[in-house]
Symmetry: C2
Subunit: 475 residues, 2 copies
């Protein structure tokens, strides 16, 4: 019989805890290919559930799914200077077909702006064709030196939305509509709190005018960027010569947005919600929402009754029944480790009493419920778990967010307290770079823009402040 | 206003007809990348619908979805000799990361047997772990010299199932279960008839013991292989050193199956069902099942009434209403070209009479139906369209299937009549190769195995016959 493998405690070594949890729970496993991950059934189903719900929301915006090639001729990247400079070091290059050298090297897409622009060029003719809203679910490649499952992998998975609009204001509106859609998705579906706002100039997407982000605080206080939405202006349109006949019969360049959420999000779920027993999965996307563990399974009638119980709830929930030969205690640990939100214990005494014991993964709370009340009761318990997970994470985020107004304060906090630091900033890249190079703090997002006559001073340079910024170490 | 683009008639130039139809209907468009296709929204949605239904059927077999890397180290292919020999000429090679040369070349997966075997090696320990049934939806790469949309592309999309079993008989049963699943899927979902059976030795999958296929006859009489299911024996298990503790506490090698259906299937749909007006899509997967065309749209009340009509049927069907400024005639052509199974014409007189005109794409038949009866009636009409499409294609397949018993007859038929040829074969590769090299006929599948004492002679060699084989030109 397999033994339940032990997990390194979070406070002993958070990085090892993370690796233990994501591999032992079956979310991922290492492959023979450096930096490329495997998603076994459990991890794959989690991603499918996340994808289905996000996809449903994206379709509601009117965006249509398309499929564009993975391979991009290297020359296509040359059109937009900032863009190619941002991505070229991460290019993976196809150079040969069999033993034959290709006429031009092909890049495995690190993002698909250039291909979408080529598509837009061929398909946008008149203002009647706008807005054109497209989305793609795809695998993406960025050569990475140091990789970690989900957080930084050479191959990862995402959706990338690309939209073109008649006017700047429409495109900016779309950027914000998606920013809000991502915010809502994190709160409603993944129970993840965050701080959100615009990226600074140096942290925005290569080629964007403006990048909007949300940053989730992990258990160790480190930030994880989860989903970005870019307003790209008309730079790409000009570079790729995309024009449309406007309402005045003239030619205009459309305005561009792109936006994406990736498999990194799985890392955010693990490191926000997990505990020393393992994963805690948000009920709305958990591959198994409730697992039934029969007690004294080999006593006559128990297994059949437990199967019937599982069947009755499987119509409304994603369920599983553990009929292996392991002991109940072993099973409890196993399904806790794998983050199943609800465990249902059901044995001879329960059968006699027409009740069962429901155990919440988030709190460990045990609730005795009449079997008849289960079908209606479980969705409410799942909802309560979702809310508790969100509240708990938000509480931690608040507790671990510190305010600083001088460089000394920033340094002191950075040395002694993990988490986010809110501090005013003058907007100059020199001071931003200084924090990054000396104490590895990066600007995560701009929380607030101060009025022009503010008396507040930049915590770093001492000059007049322009923005309130969240600073943190980041994955 | 856009003009409806003309389509080359099928009998004038079938290849041009095909290209016209798949590009003008929005199923695909050419990309800047040689041999790699784009699926715009319409084509992408068709594939999504096909995928959803096939995926639902595959999940019912107990197979679980996983994700494995796209990049495979070249050395991993060396383990199985037949397999690498079959695929090496089609390898696309990643050699560089940025400007840095990789220590080992990486192959873009042309199929994933070697990665699945690595996964099985790490995850199969005991007979209790078997059967292990996995499936992956993925993009696949095979360098192709001559490419055609959907039929032969450098990047294509598929599902690939990979299963491991305790015994040969279980693995062979799985191979046949999937063979039947694919058969049912073609008949029930895509309205495609076919011939089916085992591949000959020279036509089977590189590394397989046995390959099962079905071959669909296109309008021009040429065969298209659509979905294969392989029994791979224990060759891969031995090559990759995959073992499990059997019930007698000894070590055994598990038996392997793999199977897949690809985006080629879209080509099969187009070339089986389409006509000179364009696509005819099978109702079960058509992105739009019924399109509403308002007549005299600018007359007061018509547009609102038409929208209401569409809304009322959109709960049970995938619908669209064409409110563009084009004329009704233009709209009819447009939606016929795009293969929408049902068109609903609705104008002032219809509104008055509380009826509407339903036009079938497959027959052109016009049916006047009471608006009240629409919601219940349309699903029956879609069903009738599906059946008629299947019957029509089957009738053509039968009509264009010819029997031959001598080489002269085969030659005569091949010269004068497109289609399938059924002819007895001795089983020797020499005669099979001869047909291929002289008149481009390949063995598509074995229909029947003759008894050992058969008096029948091989149509090619004149030796005693072993099999009844379907011979045809193939895409």
């Amino acid at each position: 019989m397999k033994q339940l493998e032990s997990i390194t405690p979070r406070d002993t070594d958070f990085a090892r805890w993370y690796t233990d949890v994501v591999t032992k729970s079956g979310l991922t496993s290492y492959s023979n290919v450096k930096g490329c991950m495997i998603m076994p059934p459990y991890g794959n189903e989690l991603w499918e559930n996340m994808r289905d719900e996000l996809g449903r929301r994206i379709k509601k915006t009117g965006a249509k799914n398309v499929t564009l090639p993975l391979l991009i001729p290297e020359s296509m990247f040359q059109s937009e200077k900032d863009h190619v400079e941002g991505f070229a070091p991460e290019f993976l290059m196809v150079t040969h077909s069999g033993e034959e050298k290709l006429a031009e090297r092909l890049v495995l897409r690190p993002t698909s702006e250039v291909l979408f622009c080529d598509y837009f060029k061929n398909n946008i003719h008149s203002y009647r064709d706008l807005p054109m809203k497209l989305n793609q679910w795809a695998n993406i490649f960025r050569a990475e030196k140091n990789t970690r499952p989900f957080l930084r992998t050479t191959e990862f998975f995402w959706q990338e939305g690309h939209t073109m609009h008649e006017t700047e204001s429409e495109a900016r509106e779309m950027t914000m509509q998606i920013h809000k859609l991502y915010n809502d998705y994190l709160v409603d579906t993944l129970a993840l709190p965050f701080v959100e706002g615009k990226k600074t100039e140096s942290e925005k997407f290569a080629g964007a005018v403006e990048t909007w982000t949300r940053e989730v605080m992990m258990y160790d206080g480190v930030a994880l960027q989860t989903g970005t939405s870019h307003y790209l202006g008309d730079g790409f349109s000009k570079a790729f010569d995309i024009t449309f006949q406007n309402k005045d019969k003239g030619l205009s360049h459309p305005h561009y947005t792109s936006w994406g959420i990736t498999t990194r999000m799985i890392g955010a779920i693990v490191m926000t919600h997990g505990d020393d027993r393992g994963l805690i999965l948000p009920p709305k996307v958990a591959p198994i929402q409730a697992v039934v563990v029969p007690i004294m399974m080999h006593k006559a009638g128990v297994l059949d009754a437990a199967k019937e119980l599982e069947k009755s709830i499987s119509k409304t929930l994603r369920t599983h029944i553990d009929t292996t030969d392991n002991t109940p205690g072993w099973k409890y640990s196993e399904w806790e480790m794998r983050g199943v939100p609800i465990r249902i214990e059901y044995g001879p005494r329960d059968i006699e009493n027409k009740t069962c014991v429901v155990v919440r993964r988030d709190t460990g709370e045990k609730i005795t419920i009449a079997v008849d009340a289960l079908k209606d009761g479980l969705p409410h318990i799942l909802e309560a778990i979702h809310e508790n997970m969100y509240d708990r994470a938000l509480k931690r985020q608040k507790k671990m967010t510190h305010k600083a107004s001088t460089l000394e304060e920033i340094g002191e906090i950075a040395r002694s307290k993990p988490g986010f630091i809110q501090a005013p900033w003058c907007g100059c890249e020199k001071s931003e770079r200084m924090l990054k190079e000396t104490i590895s703090l990066t600007s995560r997002c701009i929380l607030e823009e101060y009025p022009e006559d503010t008396k507040l001073k930049c915590a770093i340079s001492g000059k007049q402040a322009k923005y309130l910024v969240v600073w943190a170490k980041a994955y």
